[in-house]
């Protein structure tokens, strides 16, 4: 147990952080049918902004300011890069997303000079704590609860408010929703605002854990969060959250598999930890082949 526990804990924590990013992917996909490749980079930009803002401002100003700026960036990206392509083929809007991702990464590389930046310590969650035999950061314990609270709030928003109803309608049938007088652009903007906000919260948790922010540090978490969204059934928020926890945990289990097997008396020294990223994609391919709509995805009938 003493060997398994640290890996399990960090798996749950990373899973929670992926979940916050994955919600942004799954909501945007549900409404626009767009893989928003720039979402992982919005997450990274939130981290970079926090580094620079906290250098000159106290935390109680810099953190809310970072959240607001990230939301504005998410909103602006949608307006500038996706809205003009609303009627274009789906591939061009996805390519536009790749272009935005490229732009954000290069901008961050320019501003940071390509060097890793030290993430500021956030009082309250950066400290260490002992759980039984394992030592971990407080953020590891805070993450799952915060994620569950945020997801609960989001589900309430979607099920019990007018804008939430509009979102559900748009994701069900884009054209009909428009005919029923729903302001599509407002709904899409709200989706991006919520997604960017959650990604910004996720970035605080993630970078408090890993502390180094580079211009590429959004790419892998972004990709994994998207995989989590597909895994759970894209378009479904509970699916994305559960998928993210599964991905986070299995990634960390693979990291620690040799140590765990060593405890059980099986000595393997073959560097299985190399596959901690690959296992995510292996899971993705298995689920796509076995159940293409994901764990909680709705069955879609192919329209002829």
């Amino acid at each position: 147990m003493s060997v398994v526990l640290p890996y399990l804990l960090s798996g749950i924590s990373v899973g929670g952080q992926y979940a916050l990013i994955a919600i942004g992917y799954t909501m945007v996909y549900g409404i626009l049918r767009l893989i928003n490749f720039a979402h992982g980079d919005v997450f990274m930009v939130a981290g970079v902004m926090m580094v620079y803002l906290s250098a000159s401002l106290p935390l109680y100003i810099s953190m809310p300011l970072m959240l607001i700026l990230t939301v504005i960036i998410g909103f602006a990206i949608e307006r500038a890069a996706y809205k003009p392509l609303r009627s274009a083929p789906r591939m061009s809007i996805m390519i536009s997303a790749i272009g935005v991702s490229y732009l954000l990464q290069n901008l961050a590389a320019y501003i940071t000079g390509g060097l890793a930046q030290q993430y500021p310590t956030v009082p309250g969650i950066s400290g260490s704590v002992n759980i039984g035999p394992a030592t971990t950061k407080v953020v590891t314990l805070v993450t799952p609860f915060l994620v569950i609270a945020l997801v609960f709030a989001l589900v309430m928003l979607i099920n019990h408010t007018k804008i939430g109803m509009a979102m559900r309608a748009v994701s069900k049938d884009y054209d009909t929703a428009q005919l029923m007088g729903i302001r599509i652009n407002a709904v899409i903007s709200t989706t991006f605002v919520i997604g960017s906000f959650l990604a910004a919260v996720g970035s605080v948790l993630y970078f408090t854990n890993y502390t180094a922010v580079t211009y590429t540090s959004g790419a892998m978490p972004g990709l994994k969060a998207f995989v989590a969204a597909v895994f759970g059934g894209i378009g479904s928020i509970p699916g994305a959250v559960i998928g993210a926890f599964i991905i986070g945990i299995s990634e960390n289990i693979v990291k620690g598999l040799e140590a765990m097997l060593g405890m059980a008396g099986i000595n393997l020294n073959i560097g299985l930890a190399t596959f901690s990223d690959a296992v995510t994609f292996a899971l993705l391919i298995i689920i796509l082949v076995v159940k293409p709509t994901g764990l909680f995805g709705e069955k879609a009938t192919e329209k002829v």
Binding site: I35, I98, Y102, L103, Y110, V230, T274, A282, L288
Partner: protein, 414 residues
């Protein structure tokens, strides 16, 4: 009449291609060393051209949105490296793995073809499960496979073959630019012949409408698999050439960012245009590696030079801005958005210039390591948003040299 016009375009294109090859072949022999940059760009550009064309075959002509190109390039690059390192050098390359298990070296042409075949074989295995998936799901599954392949090649247990996460080096490489051009030329020509064959027409019909294609008797699974394998075959050869160009191979460079880069090239050139992809590759490499290089250098101007710089820039951009605004306010102006964005960019440059002039410093602001890529990605975004058909759209080079009257006639007819 129609045949004659077709021939005219083809002849001019053939003449241009021959001229380019002759130029590269001769210039390389006689050019001074200061031309090195040009040849580097030509080499890398030709490799990217092959990879972009192979991706276009899949994404543009068959309509399968695959993002696995970097993985197949990795397979090609590694296959080439593993089988061509001279036996004498293996001990030093595989120093952590006792010289590795492969103890022979294949001749370069055989290894190049083998690189393609290995990539195609893996494509076949990967294609069996994933080609049943549609659009986005196919994209993400192929992307996932590329990442898995990258992890496998970095695995230490396979070290005796792949050298783990260490470099493969000391394999034979092409020294001259023309060798790259010839290999790429042959491959692109084969793809071109394929696209104009009955297979090519089947691919295009799948792109246009899968169900209609199936109704016309096209075996969807077989043709999709064929396109996937052929595309991967050429991506593998492209990867092998890239390995030669870099003189070393490491799995960690074949990230998904590389696939995105190639996809952007395909889009800039025009999805569904071979000559567009080729042109875009050279332009893309030239811009990113050469023409925009000055943006990365911190530049300090002398007082006189500064005045001249500001004056020249101001004149150029004021004229450009005036042209854009003139287009914008003209009644019944077409494509207002494009000119609006153009005017916005000119305005931004002018404001930057005014700030520069007002502060009185001699160091050109903003120019610093990394600025090149920022400007470059802004250019790409502008192309993606406002010129989404790319340089060539779906037309090919010969189409450009046909008489205008004919295309107008076609428009009337359609």
């Amino acid at each position: 009449m129609k045949n004659l016009e077709n021939k005219r375009g083809t002849l001019i294109t053939a003449a241009i291609i021959v001229a380019v090859f002759l130029f590269v072949g001769i210039a390389e022999k006689i050019a001074p060393p200061s031309w090195n940059m040009l040849f580097m760009v030509l080499k890398k550009g030709s490799i990217y051209a092959l990879i972009a064309v192979s991706m276009n075959l899949l994404n543009g002509f068959t309509g399968l949105f695959s993002l696995g190109q970097a993985g197949f390039m990795l397979l090609g690059a590694y296959t080439y490296g593993i089988f061509t390192i001279p036996a004498a050098d293996r001990a030093s390359v595989y120093q952590y793995f006792d010289g590795g298990v492969v103890q022979f070296a294949l001749p370069v042409p055989v290894a190049l073809i083998l690189a393609g075949l290995v990539a195609a074989a893996f494509a076949f295995l990967i294609g069996l499960p994933v080609l049943r998936l549609k659009s986005d799901y196919l994209a993400i599954a192929t992307l996932g496979f590329a990442e898995i392949i990258r992890a496998v090649f970095q695995w230490n247990v396979l070290g005796p073959i792949t050298n783990g996460s260490n470099l493969l080096r000391k394999f034979p490489v092409f020294q001259s630019t023309i060798s790259y051009f010839i290999v790429v030329g042959i491959c692109v020509a084969v793809i071109l012949l394929l696209i104009n064959s009955s297979y090519g027409r089947a691919f295009k019909s799948i792109r246009e409408d899968e169900i209609a294609a199936e109704a016309m008797g096209i075996n969807l699974a077989r043709h999709k698999m064929l396109a996937f394998c052929i595309s991967s075959f050429f991506a593998g050869i492209g990867g092998a050439l890239l390995a030669m160009y870099q003189t070393s191979v490491q799995a960690s460079i074949f990230k998904s960012a590389m696939t995105y880069e190639i996809l952007l090239i395909v889009v800039i050139g025009g999805i569904g245009s071979i000559s567009g992809s080729v042109l875009a590759s050279f332009l893309y490499i030239a811009c990113s590696e050469w023409w925009l290089r000055f943006l990365d250098q911190e530049t300090i101007l002398s007082a006189a030079g500064r005045g001249r710089f500001i004056a020249v820039m101001a004149v150029i951009f004021v004229i450009l801005l005036a042209l854009m605004v003139f287009r914008l306010v003209k009644p019944k102006a077409k494509s207002r958005v494009r000119y609006g964005v153009g005017a916005g960019i000119c305005g931004a440059v002018l404001i930057w210039l005014i700030v520069f002039a007002a502060t009185g410093q001699t160091k050109v602001p903003l120019l610093r390591n990394g600025f090149r890529m920022v400007v470059f990605s802004v250019i790409i975004m502008i192309i993606v948003l406002f010129f989404s058909r790319g340089i060539m759209g779906t037309s090919e080079l010969p189409d450009l040299f046909r008489k205008r009257i004919k295309s107008e006639k076609e428009e009337v007819a359609s």
